[in-house]
């Protein structure tokens, strides 16, 4: 095996095995700190050893064994020092008998612990990316444009709270599962969105590594909970959005809207996989949740050969369904966009204007209004609305596109 191949094999093993190693160590030793550090040490040893000697027959088993040994070494060291004697004794008691939740997999326990609702959202994100995704603190910091020390602190504090308040390492019971799954999906969707429409003035408009990581983790949860409709829905939604990422930014760095994208450059494989998942959920015959409806809307868009081919009445019917589940003004705004396509901008504008009170600080509200006003020939008002949208937009490519549209109205 060449050194390039070994490097690739190591990074692939890292992707496949990291969460499993951290999860099984956490279960055995009852301590996220011990698990994280031992896993990191084991992977560092693997990089050294495998580069020199090649990969072992079963890399996953090798990593688990090595990490277990590192964890025991560390606990012995601390035990000898005596300062954590009590803690080590607790750890040595092994697995306390506990009721099993709906699904039993250590990685799921890890995911639910990292996304526990008692932790702050930003801590959940950092902890999930570190402990489940295996990203380094530096990588997470870079992805969210925050200081490494900030990410480090978030993770340390979250781990301390998990320990002090005794957040259980457990898959929630059936009764709590839907709410807890939706908490996990919210974390993953946040990571995805930050990759898909990155905020910050000095940053790439797309951060592919974040959206790719979110998809990878959602695939993992999908594999662990194949019967959950919302997990399938979120995966489909991400795939159908990700499929279009190659067509979203122009050569000059502007965000290209769905209607103006070159549909031939969409990723057909991702579109097909997304459509398959949406069909699977339709066939299940269960009332869809939020992510499934959003995925279905994206399936309608990605089924159309051109924007004029889009089945807008289907899109609107899906938004009507979504509005019943989710009263958020952002859903109402997106519904109004479908209304504009179906019934014209003069019908959509009053519906958008109704949202001013709630969405005055949201760039997409002003961008949508600007677009409707422009289509109605009310250029002066449209320009003012574009102006406001440019001021509020966080994404560099989006700002560029809005600026150009504003300038076209001069």
């Amino acid at each position: 095996m060449s050194s390039v191949d070994v490097g690739e094999a190591i990074s692939q093993t890292h992707h496949e095995e990291w969460a499993r190693v951290v999860a099984s160590l956490t279960r055995r030793f009852g301590d996220l700190d011990v698990a994280e550090e031992a896993a990191a040490e084991a992977f560092a040893t693997a990089v050294e050893r495998w580069t020199a000697q090649g990969l072992p027959a079963n890399p996953g088993a090798w990593l688990t064994t090595t990490a277990n040994r590192k964890a025991i070494d560390r606990i012995r060291r601390e035990h000898k020092r005596g300062d954590k004697q009590k803690e080590a004794q607790i750890l040595y008691q092994g697995d306390p008998p506990e009721p099993l939740g709906a699904i039993d997999d250590d990685r799921l326990r890890l995911i639910f612990t990292c996304c526990h609702p008692a932790l702050a959202l930003e801590s959940r994100v950092a902890l999930t990316l570190r402990l489940v995704g295996g990203l380094t603190v530096a990588e997470i910091a870079r992805a969210f444009l925050v200081q490494e020390s900030t990410v480090g602190q978030r993770i340390t504090r979250a781990k301390a709270k998990i320990k002090a308040t005794r957040i259980p390492y457990r898959v929630p019971c059936n009764e709590d599962l839907p709410a807890r799954v939706s908490g996990v999906l919210a974390v993953l969707f946040l990571v995805f969105n930050e990759g898909y429409l990155a905020t910050g003035s000095d940053t790439d408009p797309l951060r592919h590594e974040l959206s790719a990581e979110a998809i990878r983790l959602t695939r993992l949860i999908r594999a662990l909970m194949p019967a959950d409709g919302e997990v399938a829905g979120l995966l489909a939604l991400m795939l159908l959005i990700e499929a279009r990422s190659g067509a979203r930014i122009s050569a000059s760095g502007e965000l290209i809207r769905l209607g103006e994208q070159d549909r031939a450059s969409w990723d057909a494989t991702l579109v097909a996989e997304g459509h398959r998942l949406v069909r699977e959920r339709l066939a299940a015959g269960v009332a869809p949740g939020r992510y499934q409806i959003l995925a279905a809307i994206n399936a309608v868009h990605t089924s159309a050969r051109s924007v004029d081919d889009t089945d807008w009445s289907q899109v609107l019917a899906l938004y009507d369904q979504l509005v019943r589940l989710d009263r958020s003004p952002i859903v109402a705004l997106n519904r109004a966009i479908a209304v504009a396509e179906l019934d014209g901008p003069e019908v959509a504008l009053p519906a958008v204007d109704l949202l001013e009170h709630e969405l005055a600080g949201y760039h997409a509200y002003h961008a949508t209004r600007a677009d409707l006003l422009r289509r109605l020939g009310r250029d002066r008002e449209a320009r003012l609305a574009y102006e406001r949208a440019v001021e509020l937009a966080g994404n560099t490519a989006e700002r560029a596109a809005l600026t150009r549209r504003r300038d076209q109205l001069r």
Binding site: A118, A164, R166, P168, R170
Partner: protein
């Protein structure tokens, strides 16, 4: 493990009769499940006296030690296996007393 469930309120006044009735039901539920340790309601914060005896002579001050819009109206001390159990009980407690609650573990 024991957790303190603090009852937080912004409104003056004691629990209403229907709130008291719901709290009684909740307390019985805590006792039946083996979660009950202790609980109590507190008089208005204006009835508090702050004592500082770190110096040569004790200093007494009228009123609560922090002036804030919200104050502690009462508390439960509960026994729970982990935070999920504590949160579940606290969620029921919040409904019963019709106020926000905070869950915090004892050391």
């Amino acid at each position: 493990m024991q957790y303190l469930v603090s009852v937080i309120t912004a409104t003056a006044g004691m629990a209403t009769d229907s709130e008291m009735a719901a709290i009684d039901v909740f307390n019985e539920h805590l006792q039946a499940g083996g979660h009950w340790v202790f609980a109590g309601g507190l008089a208005e914060p204006s009835n508090a006296t702050v004592i500082d005896n770190r110096g040569e002579a004790p200093i007494f001050t009228d009123g609560p030690f922090v002036e804030s819009k919200e104050h502690l109206a009462g508390f439960w001390v509960i026994e729970a296996a982990d935070l999920d159990v504590a949160i579940k009980l606290a969620t029921e407690g919040s409904k019963a007393c019709n106020r926000k609650v905070e869950v915090r573990p004892f050391l």
